[in-house]
């Protein structure tokens, strides 16, 4: 199926990626081709098939509920674009 023209803008908003109107035209063309490719799946009979979410059908491992990590926040925050007093800085979100 082909995407409605506004669908690209909506998807981009959901994905938190800025796309301008000119870019949207090319993105729509390529996404339409990809959607045609994956639309092939609709014709396959999958009645009573259990979805396979992982390469191995094993239970995820459990471990004791104990602290295993050490506090390295100073090192990790060296990678942050903006930090103050040990806190990550973001634009103001409340008045």
């Amino acid at each position: 199926m082909a995407l409605a023209p506004d669908a690209i803008i909506r998807l981009a908003r959901l994905a938190r990626i800025d796309i301008d109107r000119n870019e949207a035209r090319d993105v729509k063309k390529k996404l339409d081709a990809i959607l045609r490719l994956i639309d092939d799946l609709q014709a396959i009979d999958t009645a009573d098939i259990v979805p396979m979410s992982h390469a191995q059908d094993v239970m995820l491992a459990l471990r004791d509920d104990v602290v295993t990590e050490t506090d390295q926040h100073e090192r990790f925050q060296q990678e942050a674009p903006a930090v103050s007093g040990g806190l990550y800085l973001v634009p103001k979100v409340i008045e």
């Binding site: 990626i17 490719l37 992982h54 060296q78």
Partner: protein, 499 residues
């Protein structure tokens, strides 16, 4: 540096060469090749020389292992403590990893010398290595051609003799396809054998670390170091330790593959396969039969759906995994924004390249309300159908053989504007990621214009040792893996001679 890991290891133990000398040779070749091939994003000369000195001390004291002193390179999607880890993306252009990936730590503990980090398609999304923020990697056999992707830098580094072995990651073919296109050996192990801890996630249910090397024995030596349980990856399997070289070390005989049943799926030999690829695969099958193997036809009709399934599941997982890149905790942040919403969306618009954005958008679409059942859940059901077909096929055969890719390397730019045509490169490789089963690619011939062709061998869960043994027996009677790219070899040797 065209010696194998095994040859270099023997020379190091015999003290006929030092790790410092090998490491200096490797660094010189990397520097000479970089302007042409662009295989590396970061080279760690000081770190490599320090590791080489430590390796030489270990070798002198007798406290050494097989890989002690061997120079290697890591794909730049694997975290390396204190060393830049970019994932080929502007988003992480200046990111210095604060810890080692599990496989990086394992190879460090095994005594290897890390030369640097290799170029790759951005966040491992691509089949040509043209999607890197740091520019395309070029194929050492012909610099106008792609090396394959996404681990194109690692494959090129080994093929051009810059390092004897390297790591890659394989989510839909990203080790095997570049191994095929550059004429080397690449192994995707069973999912869960090698920990994903510290592998920057693309599609978590498919991502698999694995080795590149010149031959099967070296891949087995690398896998011995890389494999093992790691509690920090909840999908890492806790199994007894294996020596993946064990079958390779058995004495050779006239029919070393006697009793081996090789499955030939019609789906891997149909339309759309380049004539020279088909002919090289047919010759390779004759060689395997001469070694004692028998061939049997098997049916894998679901393989035709593997690319659509993959291009639903992988983007869905990617759209979730890559939501962490928001300009808050690490990586790029846009310089200008109005509020937190525009900070996120401009940061991501600037930080991600076109293919990464496309996959995030496709993933967002297939996971969105009203489409989840029709696409994502549907793809997961077809994934199970495909996995069941492979399980059934392995009741009739021990390994499955066919081409790794439908064609040899293509020219840079040839498919850059057509994502679907690019995705169809993965037709023979993605199934092993969907099932989680192991597969490898080994060189088996050349096209008339001198580009390598890869033979893919697949097997059922945990059959790495058998796969590597089949590849090893093939390589004992063929010379394809000993061919080296003429142009780059001459150029790099000249550079070494000039020092």
């Amino acid at each position: 540096m065209m010696q194998t890991v095994a040859e270099l290891s023997a020379a190091l133990r015999a003290r006929t060469i030092s790790s410092a000398e090998i490491t200096q040779q490797s660094l010189a070749r990397v520097a000479a090749a970089q302007p042409v091939l662009n295989a590396f994003i970061t080279v760690d000369e000081a770190g490599a020389l320090a590791s080489a000195r430590a390796a030489d001390a270990a070798l002198a004291s007798g406290d050494s292992a097989t890989l002690t002193g061997i120079p290697i390179a890591h794909k730049d999607v694997l975290m390396t403590n204190g060393l830049r880890t970019t994932c080929g993306s502007r988003m992480l252009e200046h990111f210095v990893a604060p810890y080692d990936a599990h496989v990086v730590a394992r190879l460090r503990d095994a005594g290897t010398v890390l030369i640097g980090k290799t170029n790759m398609d951005e966040f491992a999304m691509g089949s040509s290595n043209e999607n890197s923020f740091f520019g395309p990697v070029r194929n050492p056999w012909n610099a106008a051609y792609v090396p394959g992707g996404s681990s194109g830098g690692s494959a090129t580094a080994v093929a051009a003799g810059l390092v004897p072995a390297a790591t890659g990651t394989d989510t839909g073919g990203s080790i095997r396809q570049p191994a095929a296109l550059t004429g080397i050996c690449g192994l995707k192990p069973t999912y869960g054998i090698c920990s994903r801890y510290g592998l920057v996630a693309f599609a978590s249910s498919l991502d698999t670390p694995g080795p590149f090397a010149r031959d099967a024995l070296d891949c087995a030596l690398m896998l011995n170091a890389m494999a093992g349980h790691d509690a920090r990856d909840a999908t890492s399997l806790d199994r007894p330790v294996e020596d993946y070289t064990r079958e390779l070390r058995a004495p050779s005989s006239a029919k070393p593959l006697a009793g081996l049943r090789i499955g030939l799926p019609a789906e891997y030999f149909g339309d759309g396969i380049d004539r020279s690829v088909a002919s090289a695969i047919a010759t390779a099958l004759d060689t395997l039969r001469a070694l004692g193997a028998t061939t049997v036809d098997v049916a894998l009709p679901g393989v035709a759906h593997s690319v659509p399934v993959y291009y639903v599941i992988a983007p869905a997982e990617a759209s979730s995994n890559l939501s962490r890149f928001d300009g808050v905790r690490y990586g790029h942040r846009a310089a200008r924004y109005d509020d937190i919403g525009s900070m996120y969306s401009r940061t991501r618009a600037e930080g991600f390249g076109a293919e990464v954005k496309r996959r995030i958008l496709v993933g967002t679409y297939v996971l969105s309300h009203g489409y989840y059942d029709a696409y994502y859940l549907k793809a997961q059901k077809v994934r199970r159908l495909i996995a069941q077909e492979f399980v059934d096929a392995y009741a009739q055969c021990d390994v499955i053989a066919g081409p790794t890719a439908p064609t040899a390397a293509f020219a840079i730019g040839a498919k850059a504007d057509d994502p679907v045509e690019m995705y169809l490169n993965d037709i023979f490789t993605v199934a092993a990621n969907l099932t989680g089963m192991p597969a490898l690619s080994i060189p088996c011939g050349f096209t008339p214009n001198g580009l390598p062709i890869g033979l893919q061998l697949q097997a059922s869960y945990f059959a790495e040792a058998r796969l590597l043994n089949v590849a090893h027996r093939f390589q004992q009677v063929t010379e394809w893996h000993r061919r080296t790219p003429p142009a780059i070899t001459a150029r790099a040797l000249a550079a070494e001679g000039a020092r």
